[in-house]
Symmetry: C2
Subunit: 335 residues, 2 copies
Amino acid sequence: MDERKNNLLKEIVETYIKTVKPVGSKALCSKFNCSSATIRNEMAYLEELGYLEKNHISSGRIPSEKGYKYYVENLMEAEKLNGKDMLKLQTIFANNDLQLSDAITQCMEIISDITNYTSVVLGSNSKDNNLRQISIVTLSSTQIVAIVCTDKGHVENKTFTLKEGTDLKELLKVGDLVNRKLVGTPIDEVSERLELEIKPIIKKQIRQYETIYNIFYDAFNDFVSSNSNVHMSGRTKIFEQPEYNNVDEMKRLANKLEDMSFIKRIEANDYNDDEVKIYIGEENEFDSNVTIIRKKYMIDGEEKTIAIIGPKRMDYQRIVGILNYIDKEIEKRGE
Amino acid sequence: MDERKNNLLKEIVETYIKTVKPVGSKALCSKFNCSSATIRNEMAYLEELGYLEKNHISSGRIPSEKGYKYYVENLMEAEKLNGKDMLKLQTIFANNDLQLSDAITQCMEIISDITNYTSVVLGSNSKDNNLRQISIVTLSSTQIVAIVCTDKGHVENKTFTLKEGTDLKELLKVGDLVNRKLVGTPIDEVSERLELEIKPIIKKQIRQYETIYNIFYDAFNDFVSSNSNVHMSGRTKIFEQPEYNNVDEMKRLANKLEDMSFIKRIEANDYNDDEVKIYIGEENEFDSNVTIIRKKYMIDGEEKTIAIIGPKRMDYQRIVGILNYIDKEIEKRGE
DNA sequence: CTTTAGCACTCTTCTTATTTCAGTGCTAAT
DNA sequence: ATTAGCACTGAAATAAGAAGAGTGCTAAAG
């Protein structure tokens, strides 16, 4: 890979990102001061290495996933934030009355708007949350709400309709007991400790212990399986991208963007550093026909992942620039 | 409209619902024991009345919106629930451990699955909710969660990052004050009373009254504009319907199904009885190319609307049957 | 050894024409 | 009131052709 080959690949990737049309040899002559034949020779070589692909034998070249990856890792220039983009985001962060998490939400909205990509903010997994408090709010003699709050600030609630004659005082008493005994417990261990530590106690003291036990059990169980900790912006924006402008692709993507089991895959397992991470096509577990760029942040005391979902020929520079800019703004807030 | 004309219209509507293909005169001969010419005469008459339409001059007929409406109001037989449908729903309601609202959610999932329509459960408007309780949960010296709960069992929460040195005790004190003074207030009047009744008091007693006041103000304000009270199932199922099987329709619908300002229109203003209501095409405010069938229910003490969104040639009988069946099951529970 | 002009070849896309077919409206006869 | 018959319409499918962008390869030039 001599310098010209690098430049050529860079040029091809960047024009393809802009035009979405296979790049032919003629169009590149002027930029490289040589004939189309020379370009074709180089292209053939890049294709042999697996960086370029053809749709059919006589079409122009498009970057392969490997090509994008090489581009991102070796060729892409240090991202510089587009002035217009920055301006729009600045006005949001400038508003200091806004809670950080709200500012982020608004940001993602803007980003989806100006880029036509879909963006997701994923909160920390319920595993990393410990019980902070459970409150029982009574609505009537047969209706209550159980509200569970974790140390990361997640709140889940569930309304219960009780059997006529259930003793609310007993219910509240058990609530207090849970608060005294179980605060600090990881959310997904609460069920177990409820069974082992709370049940034996209330079995003796509480008449309708089974009904009441089930309420607490349900309240926590819903929490673990809940998905309230995901915020998506511009879910349909990605459909503006030409690669998805056909019925089958749209359906496929729309379905995945609805399905929590897919959304959860956006946050991968091997996730232990602070850099912007780029997952191109097959590299990501969400969908092999998209690229996901993501980064983690500390937002209002909680570790969150922001991910941008776009086509494989996503505007990498721009998105990396934006994500790093957000980082800076968050740091400013922290001071 | 003599009997034959009625039967003809009914037949046309029902075959079109099944086949999604314009209905020609020949296909109906055998059913009516007459020639296609006779059918054509009758069809021409029904078209003149506005019940039928043609795609082009020599195509078969499809029902117009007026035609569907006439069908629904005059021709459709008393809905009878399909046995298979009932069976699937029965098993859900049979599980008495399930809270009613959860059963409903599961139901909607099933309904979307078996019909390929989208379904929505809309909770009551925030206007109808009164403050039941606000809790302040402290997470750290600079982080708190404000949790607002209404008498209908809605819960909203918001995490706040406080300025270093904010007095948490004072914050909690104001929380108590709000609970003492404002419980029972309609949610959308809370802001006003906060300003008029709470602010003057804390202005005297609390040092950082402005910061603290803003927290409460924000917590309630978010509540009013929130949309957590909507649950949608099978958002993408409707795309299986052939009428939306093209890129433009899909985009249009997908956008509307994302947009709260459209979703809210599903629950109309003139909404004061218990019957199943059917809004065909232009009749509904959500989208002129769909039909919305909806009904209101009392679910866990709250009035909720269930709406099914499908094409104009929706299977009216089936959906009306299902919605009425749900009603019966809810009543059973109430006993 | 690298570059390039030239040319045959491939494949897509667009346009146009042709055919087929389902279905209609109208007329005149039953 | 019904129906057979027929001309007519428009959609959909198929085919054929032309244009165009782009390639690979060869042989000559630098």
